[in-house]
Symmetry: C2
Subunit: 197 residues, 2 copies
């Protein structure tokens, strides 16, 4: 449902399906993914709705390269979406379901290993965002105090990634601490304890 609108947003600067796929991977990949096989039919559908217009670009690149641009009707649709309610998809977290059921293994060592893997994953995504933040800081001496509206909105999105991933890493660290303590036997055995295995 939102892919259409993301493509609209990106097509404020004209581009082909192939171009859009590259932008996705470079700039949108932090919070959205899309395959070419999904992008092409979506562009066709959007052209039928007159949200975008494509023309055969007789360029040197590609054979039947079609370059799309947003129409005024598409701009209207984009703005409606932006002014509408925040879209909270019911988020699905498989790794959290795994943690939830992991008592099945009856072995806290497995859980500890699992959290260590997760920590690595989240920390490396966090590093990527911090690098991005540094890049912007180097490119703009005023960053992040004074920002043009378009830079401000990019930065607000970036802050979400930073804060959210920091929380994820903190979650893993906390869990690793608790699980390690238990496994070291530092934690007392208590009333309703199950035998150690």
């Amino acid at each position: 449902m939102s892919l259409d609108h993301i493509l609209l947003g990106l097509l404020r600067e004209p581009g082909s399906g192939y171009d859009l796929k590259k932008v996705f991977d470079e700039r949108i990949g932090y919070f959205w993914a899309a395959e070419l096989s999904q992008i092409y039919p979506t562009l066709e559908r959007m052209e039928r709705r007159r949200w975008i217009r494509g023309r055969r670009a007789a360029s040197k690149r590609g054979s039947g390269r079609r370059v799309y641009a947003i129409t005024s009707s598409g701009r209207r649709a984009l703005r409606e979406w932006l002014r509408g309610e925040p879209q909270f998809g019911d988020e699905r977290f498989s790794y959290l379901a795994q943690v939830y059921f992991m008592d099945e293994l009856g072995d806290l060592g497995s859980t500890l290993l699992f959290f260590r893997r997760m920590r690595e994953h989240f920390a490396s995504k966090l590093d990527a965002l911090r690098a991005l933040d540094r890049q912007w800081a180097e490119a703009d001496p005023h960053y992040p105090d004074v920002l043009l509206p378009e830079e401000l909105h990019l930065q607000l999105a970036l802050r979400k990634g930073l804060l959210s991933l920091e929380a994820h890493v903190a979650w893993c660290d906390e869990a690793i601490r608790r699980l390690s303590a238990r496994l070291r036997g530092a934690k007392p055995s208590r009333p309703r304890a199950r035998r150690t295995q």
Copy 2:
């Protein structure tokens, strides 16, 4: 891909499709959603794979109520999934895409309103998790210091929700502060001139 395994986890206690839908809404809804129209065919598929076995329960409830339970083969599949890699779906955040493109509106007031709406949403989800936390604390005098493995894993999952939602609320608060300051005319025309709030 993970729905199968979540159903396996839940079916450690037997239940019908209808029962499972209720458990989803009550206990899993914090990180996963599933419709009945998805659950029923999935259960059939899992039975064909011999991961679960269903028998017609000639109970007073429902007409052709089928109650499923996990098989030993299903338990094996569940454990493989739990011991496997953490499953990070490429997370899609529509609301973040909206923020990303919102400079299009050329109006920071709209962005401020948008963040206020988001804050309300995240804060109310956070409240729900905090209430859950309190419930557990009231039910168990040792909580959260001493936990049986199954309670521990539930609590680790809960902690993720708490930390993550706190970060989301903090993100909104930070953005609201910055946007309000700009709109109040604390014009950031000079470098490094951010005022208190």
